[in-house]
Symmetry: C2
Subunit: 120 residues, 2 copies
DNA sequence: CTTCGTTGCTACGGAATGTGTAGCAATGGT
DNA sequence: ACCATTGCTACACATTCCGTAGCAACGAAG
């Protein structure tokens, strides 16, 4: 790796703070804002099994542009969902629990697909 | 209401089709693309309890611009998650199951918030 | 029929966000 | 000294989103 840690611009939506499209500060609103940004869900998904280096993660996400990837990783790190360690980027303990809350999506998506093309 | 149904431009990511950032056609990828678009998660969330008219839904979503709202509703309708009835816009049966898969997010968000401001 | 209020929805210009390529500085190995 | 890899940035272009204004279709009331 390279570079030491560098504090970021603090752009990630956080609970108890007003976010895009909601000034109430309700935690769920911050979360929806965060997860609703492009590539965020995908990044979390690609980290579900194992950590990955920046470049490896980029490949897993179909070569997303490093600009956005870095932006998303910054946001996710800022709120304690993702961390950078010697193994590369990976989910924190909290991040793992979030992903568990998202896991049912895969099963749902399969059932959803069946309704588009019955044969499976 | 007004206007009869009008077939749309088919821009929604569907399972078994290549989507933005993934040509595999895996259902979960289509879903992540769909849900990762701005306001999609929020719209689903605001419909969790009861249907709403276009204008009412817009207010619930902090006055999101009608352009995007209509775009999102079109996508969600196209894939059978949302429908427009006499009651206004509401979740379909399938949409309801998707939302159930997302409900744990609220609980997670609350716990998340606690780690930012211990007192609650 | 006319007026009024509400419906879903669109046009359009400007602002924000995302994309793609190239490449830099730091680190570790040989 | 080299070389490969790391995380990450610069910059110009494209897409998406936003905010305001307003249209056409319907229902109810006069």
């Amino acid at each position: 790796m390279c570079y030491v840690f560098r504090s970021m611009a603090s752009k990630a939506p956080k609970p108890r703070q007003p976010v895009r499209g909601s000034r109430t500060g309700r935690p769920i609103m911050a979360l929806l804002d965060l997860l609703g940004r492009r590539w965020t869900l995908r990044v979390l998904w690609e980290l579900r099994d194992a950590p990955a280096t920046f470049r490896e993660l980029r490949e897993r996400c179909d070569d997303v542009s490093p600009t956005v990837l870095n932006q998303r990783l910054g946001e996710l790190r800022e709120v304690g969902i993702v961390e950078l360690s010697g193994e590369g980027y990976g989910l924190t303990a909290r991040g793992t629990t979030l992903l568990e809350a998202l896991l049912p999506l895969d099963a749902w998506a399969r059932a959803w697909a069946r309704s588009f093309a019955p044969a499976d």
